[in-house]
């Protein structure tokens, strides 16, 4: 089995493990968050944020190339996070004037266009300047890569996940009350705007962490499909969290197996496995009318 060779052969020592660890952390991070993303119909906003983050990727790569370092580091990741969070807030503000659809359409397109031009410029600078590392391949940026995740990247992903999951646990009660009924949240002393901004910020962090594995294009799938599965099967919030985590982890494990065995990008294989799980679950529910936990 190629998977075994990649992970356990001494010649590959440590090459793939950071990516695998980051993928599992991302599954644990995205699953509980995805319930709220689905319930608050923020899937398309997530899509906007992840595509907008490509603008941040381009900017970080270009600045690194000009600075003479090139390549990719944890600082780039942080810059992309700031860019993604700003894009998310930009979408929120623009939504009030233009409507959410239009706001996402504008921000997504502008950031993708700017990101691609900056990526091209960064590649040009790296090609002309000796000693400056070139940017990662465009396919890796768009569809993810296990190889590009460094140990530092995996640790940063772990820290980000702990911060987001800790915040989620801390605000779970007001967040759930607000998400259940936004119109009456104010009368319970909950500030709806703060809840939305906080969810958007957590969503941005999760998107940027997920982009390493699933790429810009498919990152939001990790923030949608586990939520759909969890909400179909869970009878309580706790049950829904368990189902979403199980499906996300299973999706990542099987998806990475496919990636290693077939030598393809991890993003599409993880997403397709999770969609498969969703369809199987839906088939079982239809056949049995089951709903548990």
């Amino acid at each position: 089995m190629k998977t075994f060779d990649y992970l356990f052969e001494p010649v590959n020592a440590g090459l793939f493990w950071p990516g695998v660890a980051a993928a599992l952390i991302v599954a644990l991070l995205c699953a509980p968050l995805s319930l709220y993303v689905v319930l608050k119909k923020m899937a398309f906003i997530g899509q906007g944020v992840s595509h907008a983050a490509f603008g941040g990727v381009g900017l970080a790569l270009y600045v690194a190339a000009l600075a003479g370092t090139g390549g990719w580091s944890g600082w780039h990741q942080l810059a992309v996070l700031v860019f993604a969070a700003a894009a998310g807030l930009g979408i929120s503000v623009l939504s009030k004037r233009q409507g959410t659809d239009t706001a996402i359409g504008i921000v997504l397109a502008v950031c993708m266009a700017v990101g691609f031009e900056l990526y091209r410029l960064a590649a040009g600078v790296a090609a002309r300047t000796p000693g400056v590392a070139g940017p990662p391949g465009i396919e890796d940026v768009l569809f993810g890569s296990v190889l590009n995740v460094t140990t530092g990247g995996a640790v940063a992903t772990g820290v980000a996940a702990m911060l987001v999951l800790g915040s989620l646990w801390f605000v779970r009660r007001p967040l759930t009350s607000w998400a259940f009924d936004e119109a009456t949240a104010g009368s319970l002393g909950i500030r709806g705007e703060r809840m939305r901004a906080l969810l958007l910020l957590m969503l941005s962090v999760a998107v940027v962490a997920t982009m390493q594995i699933a790429g810009v294009v498919l990152a939001t799938a990790m923030l949608i499909i586990p939520g759909v599965i969890g909400l179909s099967w869970g009878r309580t919030i706790r049950g829904a969290v368990v189902w979403s985590v199980v499906s996300a982890v299973l999706g990542v494990v099987v998806g990475l197996l496919v990636t290693f065995e077939l030598g393809v990008q991890p993003g599409p294989s993880v997403v397709l496995v999770m969609v498969g799980l969703m369809l199987i679950g839906s088939g079982i529910r239809r056949a049995t009318g089951a709903r548990s936990a």
């Binding site: 319930l39 608050k40 646990w169 801390f170 605000v171 779970r172 009660r173 007001p174 759930t176 009350s177 998400a179 259940f180 009924d181 936004e182 119109a183 009456t184 104010g186 009368s187 319970l188 002393g189 909950i190 969890g230 909400l231 869970g234 009878r235 309580t236 919030i237 049950g239 829904a240």
Partner: protein
């Protein structure tokens, strides 16, 4: 004001001032001020402590706008609102207001049992690290009992019928012990008998909680079933007294008994409530007992 004050005599309660005072309130939406047509104009009314006030008027008459002003969502362009002596914003922040919107705005795909839903207003007051205690559970059970929905406690929130959902959402709205309950068109789509039962349930809640209730509706039967006093609103306040004083003349004045307005009115109903035929039992032609106040 502590709980014991709730139980003072009527005279003392009167002396303590009204639950809600609306003083000379006018309101124009940004667009409508250009056309010089305010939605509300110099509306002044008081809601006594512990009473049920029904606000009756045609669609577009400013009822929902007034409710949003009471909630602090909209700010009056003129005038002042006080809820137990404080501004609506302060009242909301102090969790003094329970609110039930016109349509069910709750996300019903949520995997929540009825009990979890009613517990929410109590749970948000708990620090994150503290478990929900027995006191909160007992209070949520008592609220469900009050609205006649105790047996639904373990059901999934998404599996309830419209009437059951409304009762559960009222239990949720009163769980944290607000002092005012605002209900926006609570009986849309419910038959006359259902409205009577709803009125009885509301009276139980009012009596047991000592809560002040404001019901907004364009349906006369709803107002008759749920209110001790009525305020008729069509931009300005046309009437403010017990339902017995609601004569056909008053209703004609409020609903403007002419064909053009009624056509516009039924059109609004179709638009707002999805009544394909435009009829939703509103207006003086509804035959809902113009002279009939609550027994």
């Amino acid at each position: 004001m502590d709980a014991s004050t709730h139980q003072t005599s009527n005279t003392q309660t009167e002396n303590a001032g009204p639950a809600i005072s609306v003083d000379g309130v006018s309101f124009s939406y940004a667009g409508s001020s250009m056309t010089g047509e305010p939605v509300l104009e110099r509306v002044t009314l008081d809601v006594r402590r512990g009473e049920r006030l029904g606000i009756l008027g045609p669609n577009g008459g400013g009822k929902s706008t007034l409710l949003k002003i009471l909630l602090g969502v909209l700010k009056p362009t003129e005038g002042r609102v006080r809820i137990f002596g404080v501004s609506p914003d302060e009242a909301r922040r102090g969790r003094m207001i329970g609110y039930l919107p016109q349509r069910v705005t709750a996300e019903l795909r949520f995997p929540l049992r009825v009990m979890d839903t009613v517990l929410q207003p109590l749970a948000v007051r708990q620090p994150a690290w503290k478990r929900i205690g027995g006191t909160a559970l007992a209070r949520a059970s008592a609220c469900l009992e009050m609205v006649g929905a105790r047996r639904l406690a373990e059901k999934q929130i998404g599996s309830l019928s419209g009437g059951q959902m409304q009762r559960v959402l009222i239990a949720r709205a009163i769980a944290a012990g607000p002092r005012v309950l605002l209900l926006d068109e609570p009986t849309v789509g419910i038959d006359v008998e259902g409205q009577r039962r709803f009125g009885e349930m509301l009276d139980t809640v009012r009596t047991e909680e000592g809560i002040t209730v404001v019901v907004v509706s364009h349906e006369l039967a709803t107002i008759a079933a749920t209110s001790d006093r009525v305020a008729c609103l069509r931009r300005t306040l046309h009437f403010h007294d017990t339902p017995r004083g609601l004569t056909p003349d008053v209703l004609r004045e409020v609903f403007r008994h002419d064909l053009a307005v009624l056509e516009g009115h039924t059109h609004d109903c179709a638009h707002e409530h999805g009544h394909a035929d435009g009829g939703c039992g509103c207006g003086p032609d509804s035959g809902l007992g113009v002279d009939g106040g609550p027994a």
